[in-house]
Assembly symmetry: C2
Homo-oligomer: 318 residues x 2
């Protein structure tokens, strides 16, 4: 299979949108942004053995490569629109590419994201995606907007992906529900959009809850006080690990792609209503306080020092 055929194979399956003037097949894509909207751009790379375990199914890699980028748009309350894909492959394997596209395009179609360009290159397996979203001016949720007195919330449950990875690396069997959280994270796009105008600050949980809330503290010039016992855990996680390992997965595990956000405490009902409308559970886990970092406390008021995460994955949004 020639390299040119790879592109043609991608082009044939790429979705369409009315605002794509020219998609795959020229030197660049030509897009018509709507007037009166801001453009939201995120870019994330997944490398073999770093951001997904070696041997991960191509469809899962495809899904995850787009999901982590859509999660960044979700955290900004942006509506996804277009993406580009740069795929580095050791060789031009049509079967691998078809599987990859199965996962990638299933998620793209679900969010009406058109794949409009990119490139294919020879190299170690690596997937780089840039996503473009749209948001009304002033509606984007930023890291620097947390205010003292805000409640701190998180969507879904925490720690499943980290537990799956830890079990996998330890050679233990991985329950399917946990593995699915690692391989097929669900970007909280509808929740992000529902939180616009309600939440103050927002971030997606990719590096681990404490690390990501730390970014919010840094950007907003505030502290956060977390209730350790309030951190949500799935039944699958509780069945697989317990004690300190459970708490560590919840607090320091990465790859959850939930949204962590702050909102004025007076809006608790509105936040719950927005989350319900988006079909996602949310849990109030703490408060924004004067200070400069995240501190976690047990139910008895004792400060909890979570152990350092085990997996240094050298990844940050720039």
């Amino acid at each position: 299979m020639a390299e040119f055929d790879l592109i043609e194979r991608i082009r044939r399956r790429a979705g369409v949108r009315d605002d794509v003037v020219l998609g795959i097949g020229d030197d660049a894509a030509l897009l018509q942004p709507p007037s009166g909207r801001q453009l939201v751009v995120a870019m994330d790379t997944l490398n073999d053995g770093v951001h997904f375990p070696r041997g991960t199914a191509p469809a899962d890699i495809g899904w995850k490569a787009l999901a982590v980028n859509l999660s960044d748009l979700a955290a900004m309350a942006a509506e996804p629109a277009w993406c580009t894909l740069s795929l580095s492959l050791p060789d031009a394997d049509a079967g691998w590419l078809d599987g990859f596209l199965d996962g990638f395009l299933t998620l793209a179609d679900a969010h009406r994201v058109a794949l409009v360009g990119g490139d294919t290159t020879r190299g170690p397996l690596s997937v780089c995606v840039t996503v473009h979203g749209l948001v009304a001016p002033g509606r984007a949720l930023r890291r620097d907007a947390a205010r003292v007195g805000d409640a701190v919330w998180v969507s879904g449950t925490l720690g499943d992906a980290a537990a799956a990875l830890a079990l996998l690396e330890g050679g233990a069997p991985v329950p399917a529900a946990l593995r699915a959280r690692l391989d097929r994270p669900v970007p909280r796009v509808a929740l992000g959009a529902a939180l616009a105008g309600q939440a103050n600050a927002c971030i997606d949980v990719s590096d681990g809850l404490l690390a990501d809330l730390g970014h919010v503290c840094d950007a907003s010039g505030v502290g956060i006080r977390l209730h350790r016992d309030a951190l949500p855990a799935s039944a699958g996680l509780r069945a697989a690990v317990d004690g300190e390992a459970l708490a560590r997965c919840q607090a320091s595990g990465g790859d959850d792609y939930e949204l962590a956000f702050t909102a004025p405490a007076a809006r608790d009902d509105a936040i719950r209503a927005a989350a319900a409308a988006a079909g996602v559970a949310v849990t109030r886990i703490g408060d924004v306080v004067a200070g400069e970092r995240v501190r976690a406390f047990d139910a008895d008021g004792a400060e909890w020092q979570p152990p350092a995460r085990g997996y240094a994955h050298f990844h940050r949004d720039a």
Copy 2:
């Protein structure tokens, strides 16, 4: 040096523009496109040992990673605006990063391109860049707009980069002027903009002249007749190689990042004036004819069959 410091090091040096609402440091960048313009998006990855020789200076890698992307914008007649950068590095080397940024940001500043986001990851050395440009509706130069009767033109000279690579791979000394064409290609942004409204089809010469004009033929449903003796060569190239090797570098070498374009033959004077205004030499090298592929001819009218290129670099714009 921690990974987070890499991002901070990039952020401190990134340029600014009034239309960047939020740059590096959040989940995504927030940009304000001007009304009434189309968005032009290109994405290209450079992998170590594939798109640049191993051991290439970091500043040259930085320059080239942005240059090849700006070249795609140039070929669409777009005005560059913003870029994102995904950098995969084997380790967090501050000195390497500083050198890389020297090259990358020198070129970015020259074109008023703001670096607004991306990520850094651990992995084999790889640089992925997405560039965003702007163009008025209907002004973009596309591959599918060549018409029978058009003249075919190319900017600058052809083959220097391919000759430099061939010499390098053969262990021969590489003249500095040729090496500079390989390491520091100059995107023809001003020329692309000057050709809008004058040229019909345009493409940048990244895969080699014949291959890239072949894309124009495919997209436009035309043939191209090239005059082999008209292909422009630099004095440095003529001094370094000759005969068939010279012609092969010109016709099939990649990495030149010149613009190849077609325009109605009646506009020859306007094309020369546009090129002069952009400060770039252009050469008329052939004609668009009925047909479906590129054919090259000697001065005596005999068809020339260029040998296959020596370096299969597995790279295509998608």
